[in-house]
Subunit: 592 residues, 2 copies
């Protein structure tokens, strides 16, 4: 059965040696001294290891059940959820006014990684609540905030997001759910929503559904869409729970993974809803939370890989099979541990270098969100908008691949559910799909973000790369093995962007045919940039005599690995992009 | 629910336009005229579509159950298995002397693809029997053949292969199962075997286990291993079933997929076994069937991708979402089918070009096995030995990736079990693991096959590539888009082989650290070679006015796609290989 331990030292390294948070000039960051963050992370790691991880495999096996309209979560979930609640973890990065601790989003992200690694399905009940809270914070009236937020921040109530319908997921303009205005300012919501995570369950007294629906007069397509609050139980003026609303779970889906999370078909049968934000501006309201929500999904991708990787390492040290070709490493035993074999190491290094790079990338992204939200930094906002589809798409595609790689280390045992490695892959698989399938992320990146504001954001990204190279290229220990490969990969990315600029005007399909390759190319450059920064930080700590020597040397070796073994992918992606749209679009639809 | 239809026209194209079987000079091939093969393939496709596919999803949901020592297969399995049996499909490529039809292995492979695409878990009961039959044919005495083969060829009895034990999979030298000689020439077999596919079930009157065990006097490690026949029911001299043998299923595993196949823990408690082949030469006996068995697993990889791809195409034509950026294709409807979107096409072309290339590669491999077994062709034997780890490793790694890609086309619906796309990915996943995990295939390729007989086989492979290029490079329609990319990819493969030759002598880890990359590099070159041959065949048919015009043009376009979008991977794999062992081996085991 998989175990979990929180990577506190690795997180501390990213926060303090790489991002240097206390000096970053972002409001709220000056108080994040190493002892505080270590205390928080250590506590979170303890909860993740001792409480959340132990019910992960059992939750997968048992799943959720729908019984007479009530969804039963797996045994042990309620107690684990109550422990998250009791620790006040959901409010860590939420406003004090509603019961939170007002720490930066970055800290919520770091804690979130551990909770997701330990138990992704369980943590989704909290994660979706967090998203709904953000929507109400951004768009709700003061009365709505007062009514809903304190109970949601405390997790007495949970939240959901209702977008998808059976015939529309990506294309929300096809939506059919209707909102009819009543005389009293409320709306009557009618329609069916599907794939609603945590749509119904037995761990909270109330569930606050945020529902996109079409109110009259808004026009065709997405223009007519508004956002509504639809509570499971209506809330009386005194805050107590009133009548049961006409919203119900019609079915829970049988899924490949995240069995512990109830994925519900939600039926709105004339349910009472309350407009949140402006009428007919529901899409905009939904999209303002998009960066956070998508970063959270990208995090799921690498957090599952982190948990899977850690278990693969433990197994590879333990499993005796074959001998080191350069001489027995365990001569007294019947065989050597499989970690001696180069191909096992190759796989473990792939996993390690991805997970640690992904963490740095995600934490950087979270700090940009803080700089934007807390500091009003427009450049940070533009940068995170550009990076969001890469964080979401690249980290979930690669995160899934790394879960599969970790599973492979177990041989046949990886395929047996008892060992838990299948669950990491099955759970991670959803992150490539929801919150905008990865093809949609690639479209968003290439079709919208890349050219936004005259390409300023991508220019700023290249400046980040150049700045890091320039700052350290005088250091011969970093130049050839770390910075030169990054420079070369970055040139591939620039060349790919040029291809789109040149071909895109006359043939929009040329850019779109290369969009997924561009997303992956940029993901590799971003992780290369992170590894360059981590290598420089590790080298700096070694030179200053401040860091743990083995820890820093390991970071340097892992950085070299990423550059030597992962960055060569950029050339492949560029070659594919350069081949243009013709090979992709050559066939008539009937010829597939 | 997924449907299946057999790719008869695509198979006919490979058999007759690419491999040109009737003129290939392989014994038994002269009779394979197009009308005969079409009749066989059409019948097989009908059985696959109408009988095997309909019980595939239900079998996944229900799985196998162990009840009082009896394994119950899913509802409908018995009837479907009986239909395979009634059609005599298992004997298609087996000797007439034992009730078979003595057609080439190639035809068994083509039929096998369809059965595996339609229902992999069910087909394994047959597939393992086929493997056991091959072992008895190759190593059994005449009496053993007479006793077991007729009933196994007819599928009245099924077979298994017992290698793995809890503490040893790859490293069979650690084996503990014991064989003690009895006075009567039989052996007493004691031990536990795990991961035994089809180890116990309710579809056959008897199960013939082939079991590796250590008999006294053979020495340490794999040297002492012998192969034994251990029937579930002992067989009397008159061929009727006698006493129940002391072999039983202790447990069936809960797995990620292939739920319809019973993966058993088999307990041998002093069971009666009969030596097959020479004492202490069990490993050799097992390895003589290895090429066929591994080709069969490679086939599973692409056959699952084929089924998944076909469903993804149907969904992409049906699902309306968004609009073609170059102008609406379904202006009367609410949206365009998603097959208009370039990134969906990119994914479908990835799948299509892989599956069809993989089929050609596998069929070529099967024809080499026929040339070796039926024609005694030593060069064919050397070539298939070289190609086997590539067929197994590359086709299962990529086949799984393509199942995941097909699942992705469905968006959220791909994650819901009801739609059946998750099953393709979950079932395909095992093929990367069993019959030698893919890392072991890479080790076999680089550590054994590449340098065998002074590298003659890899030289012969390069000659195949050169021969194909030379034969067609005068054709300007093929040169730039098809042959030049193949030439360049082949040069990458040569360069990689040179790296191993130069570094391998002083540092064996250098080759091993690059082994998986080499396997993939070679897989891409092999599929590139197949596409060059298919393109040349399609062009030839067009020029001669003999082929279906749209069919041939589609093959040409798909060939161009593979060259433009898949072959660029070879450069990446070469770059990784050139980085050598240092990045891979840099860390101490404790530092992961």
């Amino acid at each position: 059965m998989p175990a979990y331990r929180g990577p506190v030292a690795d997180m501390q390294f990213v926060l303090h040696d790489v991002l240097k948070v206390t000096g970053a000039g972002i409001p709220g960051y000056d108080g994040l001294d190493p002892s505080l963050t270590e205390a928080i992370l250590t506590e979170a790691a303890k909860l993740a290891s001792d409480v959340l991880a132990p019910v992960n495999a059992a939750g997968d096996r048992q799943g959720c059940r729908l019984e007479n309209g009530v969804v039963r979560t797996p045994d042990g979930y309620r107690a684990a959820f109550d422990a998250i609640k009791a620790g006040g973890w959901n409010g860590l990065d939420l406003p004090e006014a509603f019961g939170g601790q007002d720490l930066p989003y970055l800290m919520g992200t770091a804690v979130g990684e551990m909770f997701v690694s330990a138990n992704m399905a369980l943590n989704m009940y909290q994660g979706l609540t967090h998203g709904a809270i953000s929507a109400i914070l951004a768009h709700g009236s003061d009365a709505q905030k007062a009514t809903y937020l304190p109970k949601m921040v405390s997790l007495d109530w949970t939240g959901t997001m209702n977008l998808t319908e059976p015939h529309c997921g990506t294309d929300l303009g096809l939506m059919r759910t209707k909102a009819e205005p009543q005389g009293d300012g409320s709306y009557r919501i009618t329609g069916q929503k599907i794939f609603i995570s945590a749509g119904e369950h037995d761990m909270a007294a109330n569930i606050i559904h945020l529902v996109l629906a079409k109110a009259p007069g808004g026009g065709e397509g997405t223009k007519g869409i508004s956002l509504f609050i639809v509570p499971k139980f209506l809330v009386r003026e005194d805050g107590s729970l009133g009548a049961r609303n006409a919203v119900s779970c019609g079915k829970i889906e049988e899924k490949m993974g995240i069995h512990g999370n109830a994925t519900c078909v939600m039926n709105y049968d004339g349910a009472t809803g309350f407009l949140i934000g402006d009428l007919h501006k529901g899409m905009r309201a939904m999209f303002t939370m998009m960066n956070e929500a998508r970063l959270g999904v990208g995090l799921q991708g690498y957090a599952q890989a982190e948990a899977a990787y850690r278990n693969a390492v433990a197994y590879a040290r333990d499993r005796l099979q074959g001998r080191d070709v350069t001489g027995a490493k365990n001569p007294g035993g019947p065989a050597d541990p499989i970690i001696v074999h180069p191909d096992i190491r190759r796989s473990l290094m792939d996993q390690k270098s991805f997970v640690e790079g992904a963490r740095a990338f995600t934490f950087w992204g979270a700090s940009l969100i803080d700089a934007s939200h807390r500091g009003g930094d427009a450049k940070a906002e533009a940068m995170i908008s550009l990076l969001t589809p890469v964080i979401k798409g690249f980290l979930t595609d690669r995160g899934f691949d790394m879960c599969v790689a970790a599973q492979q280390v177990y041989g046949g045992h990886g395929y047996i559910e008892e060992w838990g490695m299948s669950q990491f892959a099955r759970d991670a698989r959803i992150a490539m799909i929801y919150e905008g399938a990865n093809g949609v992320q690639a479209l968003d990146l290439v079709g919208r973000k890349l050219g936004a504001d005259g390409g300023k954001a991508i220019m700023a990204f290249f400046d980040e790369v150049k700045g890091t190279i320039r700052a350290h290229e005088g250091d011969e220990r970093l130049k050839a093995a770390i910075l030169d490969p990054l420079k070369s990969a970055s040139k591939d990315l620039q060349a790919a962007a040029m291809v789109f600029l040149q071909q895109g005007a006359k043939n929009p399909n040329a850019a779109l045919a290369g969009s997924s390759d561009f997303l992956h190319l940029m993901g590799h450059v971003a992780l290369g940039l992170m590894w360059a920064r981590m290598a420089a930080a590790a080298q700096g700590a070694l030179d200053a005599g401040t860091g743990d020597v083995e820890f820093c040397k390991t970071k340097l070796a892992t950085a070299r690995y990423y550059m030597a073994r992962q960055l060569p992918a950029t050339r492949m992606h560029l070659a594919r992009i350069e081949s243009g749209a013709e090979p992709v679009m050559a066939l008539e639809a009937a010829r597939f």
